[in-house]
Symmetry: C2
Subunit: 252 residues, 2 copies
């Protein structure tokens, strides 16, 4: 099986120029040429390109990729394992960022404001960087984003007042439940947890049950959020967290 640059480019979703570049720096030289000087790639070349693309997507510089691929100690299976581990790591990092965003969202909602140092904690110690083709397509000009934008942008003074009233109302009722000794896994407490979630969904952001339990855990783990609830009523943070968990489980 022999392929021309164009065919390879199309299959691998890179430009012809990129293949020329890889050839130029000796990272991926086609296994042969036609009499006319056309590049001819074979299956082995394609496999190599696949690996190049993979490491490139994870941000490795070309020079380093050359080293990795030419390592005589690493066979294909080893590459797959390595790639699997790299991906897991990346996912973990992104999940941390998601968690950080959720914290920031809740912080806003509760009007806790983060210190400058806290703002950058998210970025930990590493620094990916991606080519935003997908991002642009998905968010650059979609209706979804416009809608999502409008939702918060258009809060008026009355809206804010309404939100505050609803929250206070909910607050009074859950404190009542807590002081009355209503169990956190009772139908009443669960209903209040669900109301809490609905409140977030209606006014702030889309909060799935999964995200909601994540928030619950955070209320206990993060002293700023714990303090917020404990100031309303001692024991409320834990009570709410428990109710949220119970509610989420019952809906699953």
């Amino acid at each position: 099986m022999a392929y021309t640059v164009g065919q390879v480019a199309k299959a691998a979703r890179v430009t012809v120029r990129t293949l020329h570049h890889y050839d130029g720096i000796g990272l991926l030289s086609p296994s042969g040429r036609t009499p006319a000087g056309y590049r001819r790639y074979d299956d082995a070349d394609l496999e190599r390109l696949q690996h190049i693309r993979f490491y490139r997507e994870l941000g490795f510089p070309l020079e380093e990729i050359a080293v990795i691929l030419d390592d005589p100690d690493a066979d294909p299976a080893a590459h797959l394992r390595r790639q699997h581990d790299l991906l897991s790591g990346r996912i973990g990092k992104l999940q941390e960022m998601v968690a950080a965003i959720e914290i920031a969202m809740e912080a806003r909602r509760m009007e806790i404001n983060l210190t400058p140092e806290e703002r950058f904690e998210v970025f930990g110690d590493a620094d990916p960087e991606e080519h935003a083709e997908e991002a642009r397509q998905r968010w650059g000009d979609t209706e979804a984003y416009r809608v999502s934008t409008r939702r918060a942008a258009s809060y008026s003074k009355e809206d804010w007042l309404r939100i505050k009233t609803e929250q206070d109302n909910w607050g009074r009722r859950i404190v009542a439940a807590l002081t009355a000794g209503t169990p956190a896994d009772s139908a009443e407490a669960m209903a209040l947890a669900e109301e809490h979630r609905q409140l977030i969904v209606r006014w702030f952001y889309d909060c799935s049950y999964e995200v909601h339990t994540g928030l619950a855990d955070m209320y206990l783990a993060d002293p700023r959020f714990t303090a917020y609830y404990e100031k309303i009523a001692p024991g409320l943070a834990e009570y709410l967290a428990e109710a949220i968990h119970a509610n989420a489980i019952s809906r699953a």
Copy 2:
């Protein structure tokens, strides 16, 4: 709160040069200067920088970030929502890649070989790109990778023979269980599923219960893998998948 370039750089983990650059292109100009011409950043500048860093990490070009941040329709909460969605998308994509890697691993293990087109299916239609600082630190020179590399690199002819024998042995026993009508959720079938997992762990790669059930689903979803098992014995793919699920649940 006013900060110097150096302080901001340290907090945000960027270089002073980067801040100069952002100033130069007008993306982030400090809110003021000292009489001597020193840049002075305030809290609002920091917040803006945080967002810049975020979108940058997701690969947006600076020009586009400027557009996003200067959009009068998007308030801070909208940005958080957008960022949350972007992250979810990225994670989803990485998870697809993980799945693809797992397929490739299993394909190797079963000696099914993928066509060139299949090799690049992983890359779908987008193309991230990350700066591999983290990757390098984690994998460039760690012991873990060396070990992981060695495992497969050092398979000898006898090893391969041994692997084949073990697999055949296991195959005969599960076919026996299937034809004998042993239920897939019986202790015996589950033990065979566990053995299947152990076989992968011992010789190929680290296969958690989660990954294992993922494989099980794949055996049913992907005709190539289904065929592999169905050729051994009709109904085996489904039988094994069911046993794997039962086994995973019982161990959770």
